[in-house]
Symmetry: C2
Subunit: 425 residues, 2 copies
């Protein structure tokens, strides 16, 4: 069914809806379990415990220059004219575990990164010395600690380097490895059950019969769920039948989050809002949100399990899940989400928006100029043919507009990237 | 080994190095094979063929309003005072495949999205009618085609909706589904063989012995490879031994791209540049790049297979793979990469950079102000303790600086996001 909101419905402002839904008092009960994954699987997972360094970095006194490990005391009063002569008793490169004891009058040749031998307390740079018959001449006083990185100087054992809730990037994975960690505690992915309702829906890959259309929302939302850190559980298409929808909803509620596409409005065959209310407390919290597209969105909680009813219209469905599903998953995962930034662009054309609704304007952004004098221009993408996702896939950005009836030409807007807008080489 | 460039080495400018490496004439030979994946696995893969619509959208004439499907001819001269009376012969909702023939004087009640019945050519909105005894009164002339979406009006069969090279997003997956596609042609992921060299390297999870340190670059680069659309093949750690490195390199060259961490400089035990040259033409193209950090980077091609020699220093290694590995993978995949944007910020502090080198400055960006008056300030992150990845993981952005010896306080810079900088609700 194509869904339409009943005209008398009152829309909840987006912020009020988010507050009601995300900060419902029982949501903290949704704590996710912790699992340990190997480094190679840790990327794009969310750290479930603070990662503290189990070691000092460096783990030992370390040479930071090529030269000679010495006792600084030995160089007292050394000068160009009266160099000190020290006997070279050995040689250490980085990673080598050779043990020397540097007694007075002795030196050990040492490479950058190598461990300082016992009783040495400074490194004289090779450039400041001369070598002669197994001895090294030092021409100046070298102070205690010179060219030596102290144990734990970079990181003290126990210091927290990555906080719980960090969305793990390649560099975080590298950092964990450098501390010797090979298994990382991450939150289990929230399991999101998804089904679509509608007699007109046909599975992609099948043949369209009669007046049916291909189902797309389930696939789009499943992909969004994965993108935002969840695991998508596909419960398929459900016919417009109260009993079938009821048992499908019951099945879905066993998972962490339920998303239903279609069945959100007030038509004859829209059973979902009632069913959500009948299955547990508090039931439907929000029915109809002041957002364009996406106004027929419903939000509920059934016995601590959140439920999102997405409109059947695919662009509306995208917006509904972006605005409500994304922050919910991030909240469950206690994270800020993956690396990203919005870009500021100037509108190249004006466009009317709905004053009392949040409007999600799809735009095409182009870069103008070069280097530091470059700037970005945004053209609104026509919303005609909006029943099709191509208005979204033809855009490379989305602008969220609140409390305005118009975006003016030349106005600065913040663009959420939907494609790679600023390629960096 | 800690690696140092020989001081006499001449650095290639980044753009020259990129050009030499990425546009080497034999690289087009690296065409990736195509495979078909199901919709649910298509996200973050790269489309290998244009996706043209196999159907008209809508696939039939479709009502775009609730109302009555009629013959427009029947309403000629209809007016408020002299409405036309049409007999309602049936009712169609969206997705229903009921067949009616609308003869003169007849009408079919129709819902938005439903298929227009045979011989009807317009829809009169329900609000413009009155119903009475199984008949509908029409009070105005309705023109041919009113409230009817034409077959293929949104998308004509055969129109290309997604181009080859598109990095598939959730909305692209949804679009493909809506066209009935259930398998999508994508490029096979480029297989990237990665190994590290160095006697001092220990596997994370093992115990540090003597003067060893934990290997981290392989894990970081593997994660980057996955992030940029490739498949990481882990060939482990290789001791600093010419024969071992030689056979490891030979093994790696069977894959699409080889990345070696460490062994890039001119120390006694750095065999790699020579080995790369000895294994095939043209060999090492670039040795030493004018980038900070990352200058000891080497770039080569061996019998059509690209090879990247990354410095052992982990932050350098990140920069080297970001600057050379990322665009190479995108080029192999013929893509612009995943959705992303850079953000413009003002430097809150000045910082010196290397005039003749590209400098990658790590920054911490904060948002100031609210709504459309908000702006971003960037603080450079101290590079002390740079041997550790924490200078990178403590940053939320990276600024690339070319041809300057200083970033001034207040200067505008483009920030590549390393964390989520602008969280949108």
């Amino acid at each position: 069914m194509h869904r339409k909101m009943g005209g008398s419905e009152k829309y909840a402002p987006v912020h009020a809806a988010l507050k009601k839904f995300l900060f419902y008092h029982d949501l903290p009960k949704l704590l996710l379990h912790v699992e340990y994954v190997s480094l190679i699987d840790a990327q794009n997972r969310v750290l479930a415990k603070n990662l503290a360094s189990p070691i000092n970095v460096p783990p030992f006194l370390r040479a930071i220059m090529d030269g000679y490990a010495i006792k600084s005391n030995d160089t007292k009063a050394a000068s160009k004219k009266r160099p000190v002569l020290l006997e070279i008793i050995g040689r250490i490169t980085a990673g080598q575990d050779r043990r020397y004891k540097v007694k007075p009058g002795k030196a050990v040749a040492i490479a950058t990164g190598a461990r300082i031998p016992e009783d040495a307390d400074a490194v004289v740079m090779v450039e400041q010395t001369e070598q002669e018959d197994g001895k090294v001449k030092v021409f100046k006083e070298i102070k205690h600690g010179v060219n030596v990185a102290s144990k734990g100087g970079d990181v003290k054992k126990g210091r927290v380097l990555l906080e719980k809730g960090t969305w793990l990037t390649p560099q975080d994975v590298g950092l964990a490895a450098s501390l010797g960690t090979n298994k990382v505690p991450v939150f289990k992915r929230p399991r999101v059950a998804i089904f679509s309702t509608g007699d007109e829906l046909a599975e992609p890959g099948s043949k369209l019969h009669g007046a049916s259309i291909f189902e797309s929302n389930r696939y789009m939302i499943s992909s969004m769920v994965q993108e935002y850190g969840g695991e998508a559980i596909d419960l398929g298409i459900c016919r417009d039948d109260r009993d079938l929808i009821s048992s499908k909803l019951r099945e879905a509620l066993r998972f962490d989050l339920t998303v239903v596409s279609g069945g959100t409005s007030v038509g004859e065959t829209d059973y979902l809002p009632d069913l959500v209310n009948s299955m547990g407390k508090p039931g439907l919290l929000v029915r109809g949100v002041a957002v364009k597209p996406g106004s027929p969105t419903g939000l509920g909680i059934v016995n601590d399990k959140p439920v999102i009813l997405c409109p059947g219209h695919p662009v509306s469905s995208f917006v509904a899940f972006y605005i409500f599903g994304r922050p919910l998953l991030f909240k469950m995962l206690q994270t800020e989400g993956p690396p990203s930034a919005n870009l500021v662009a100037k509108m190249r054309k004006g466009i009317s928006v709905h004053k009392n609704m949040r409007t999600c304007v799809r735009v095409k952004v182009v870069r103008k100029g070069n280097g530091s004098s470059s700037y970005y221009l945004a053209d609104p993408v026509s919303a005609s043919g909006a029943s099709l996702l191509s208005t979204l896939t033809n855009s490379n950005g989305m602008v969220i507009v609140d409390n305005k009836n118009r975006l003016r030409r030349g106005e600065k807007v913040e663009v959420i990237p939907l494609r790679n807008i600023t390629r960096t080489c």
